[in-house]
């Protein structure tokens, strides 16, 4: 399984400036990858192009055998007429039922499963939203700031759990946290503004997994590479 984009060019209708011009990159194998870049550079637009929510672009997206590509973002809400637990029960495919409890536990949400979505904190809401996406049938999931408002320790626990549970799935994690993407991601796609050539630079991340010791020097080196690429 591989994923590649070639010569993606896009601008919003009536806008004078291009968001992307001849953007190309390739993700060679499944894993936890990142899309990194300054605000306004087009990360969300790019995610929507990948998942087909934006269709008016030129260029080629090759998804290999991947059929279901999902995009989730941190402002999504669950309907308020039933509890989080009931909602999850209703929208989880039978094949994924066994994973639900494991994820709820790992995401620190066990005691909130009976609550309504609006009764949760922003961080808890984002975690619930992410769980329901993780329990769908998909080959690629784009997580747009999906762990915003979650404390660092819990975020780390969640990222490691996702990597453990879904090793053969493509993830594209959109984040502004350079330490996080450098530490946990396999490949980091650093997106730059449309005037820069190339518009995307791929940096190899440290791709840490559970129980692996952090090599601080290597991590700092990766962080520097990411920062240099984005500047």
């Amino acid at each position: 399984m591989r994923f590649s984009c070639r010569d993606i060019t896009f601008k919003y209708p009536d806008a004078s400036n291009y968001v992307f011009k001849n953007l190309s990159f390739e993700l060679t194998e499944p894993g936890f990858n990142a899309l990194f870049g300054p605000s306004g550079v087009g990360k969300t637009s790019f995610a929507k192009i990948i998942t087909g929510e934006i269709k008016e672009f030129s260029g080629e997206i090759s998804t290999d055998s991947m059929k279901i590509l999902l995009y989730s973002y941190n402002l999504e809400r669950l309907p308020g007429w039933s509890s989080v637990g009931k909602h999850l029960e209703k929208i989880i495919p039978l094949s994924q039922k066994s994973k639900k409890d494991e994820l709820v536990e790992a995401f620190g949400l066990k005691e909130f499963i009976g609550a309504r979505f609006s009764q949760l904190s922003l961080g808890q809401q984002n975690r619930v939203n992410l769980i329901r996406y993780l329990l769908q049938d998909f080959q690629m999931l784009i997580m747009d700031e999906s762990l915003a408002n979650v404390d660092e320790l819990t975020r780390e626990k969640i990222l490691l759990k996702i990597k453990d549970m879904f090793p053969q799935t493509f993830f594209l994690y959109i984040s502004h946290n350079v330490i996080e993407v450098s530490k946990f991601c396999k490949q980091i796609l650093v997106l730059r503004s449309a005037g820069k050539i190339p518009q995307v630079i791929t940096v190899e991340g440290e791709n840490y997994s559970t129980l692996q010791q952090v090599d601080k020097q290597k991590l700092e080196q990766t962080m520097l590479e990411v920062m240099n690429a984005s500047s």
Partner: protein, 250 residues
């Protein structure tokens, strides 16, 4: 709570209106024939209360049925017209244009065609109530709740019933206000119809009182209309609150 508030708000406005009339009467030294005294109003009230109350109930029953009919129709058309298709756009444009035409102006035609019976009153009440309702329902149903609907769309779970449920749930407050507000329109529509040509209802009684130049009777009719409408709207709001409480556990 809502019911009490509605009733005392009406009382305040009604008493202010009567006080203003009395102020005019005594400052301009007008006769009891033009503006009756408080005693006259009281005696007229005792005389006509039972008859007028029955008339108001008659009018209210037509208004309630008219409101239900227009609500059903508004939801049916609003749900059909919510989509960004040519049919949806056509319905929206048609609704905006037709509602610009004063329904009262075509009321005489309806009386000529259908006579002065209950069907005509019902039709006019429903038509006056319908268009503002339709515009509100269309506005609510055509506005996507992206942050909730996105998940269902990308996972292929979105059905039209779910879309309507989400939009209705998210706009329950607005819908309750619109439905309670449309009660006034339905009542006004029925009274206008009765005033024009019908042979029953409080609008008809007001028309008779007008021909007799009996302001006291008109004031009693207004009092009963206002009280009845306040109670009805209060009940609608309380029902809306109960629905919200039950559905969303607020």
């Amino acid at each position: 709570m809502l019911l009490h508030r509605r009733i005392y708000q009406f009382f305040i406005i009604y008493l202010m209106g009567v006080a203003l009339l009395l102020l005019l009467k005594y400052s301009l030294n007008l006769s009891d024939y033009v503006i009756p005294s408080l005693i006259d109003i009281w005696h007229t009230g005792i005389d006509v209360f039972v008859r007028y109350f029955s008339d108001v109930m008659n009018t209210l029953s037509v208004a309630v049925v008219g409101q239900i009919v227009s609500l059903l129709l508004a939801f049916l058309i609003g749900i059909t017209g919510r989509q960004a298709t040519w049919f949806g756009s056509f319905i929206k444009v048609a609704a905006y244009n037709v509602q610009a035409y004063p329904i009262v102006a075509i009321a005489p035609i309806i009386f000529i065609l259908l006579g002065d019976g209950i069907a005509t009153r019902l039709l006019i009440a429903a038509m006056i109530c319908y268009f503002p309702l339709l515009l509100s329902v269309l506005g609510i149903m055509a506005e996507p709740i992206t942050e909730i609907e996105h998940f269902y769309k990308v996972t292929g779970r979105m059905r039209w019933q779910l879309e309507i449920k989400i939009r209705a749930f998210e706009n329950l407050n607005k819908l309750t206000t619109v439905i309670a507000g449309s009660a006034t329109l339905a009542m006004a529509g029925t009274i206008v119809a009765e005033f024009i040509a019908a042979n029953a209802g409080i609008g008809y009684s007001i028309r008779v009182a007008l021909y007799q130049s009996d302001l006291a009777k008109i004031l009693i009719a207004l009092f009963l209309i206002g009280m009845t409408l306040s109670v009805y709207q209060g009940l609608l709001e309380a029902t809306g609150y109960a629905v919200r409480k039950g559905w969303a556990r607020i």
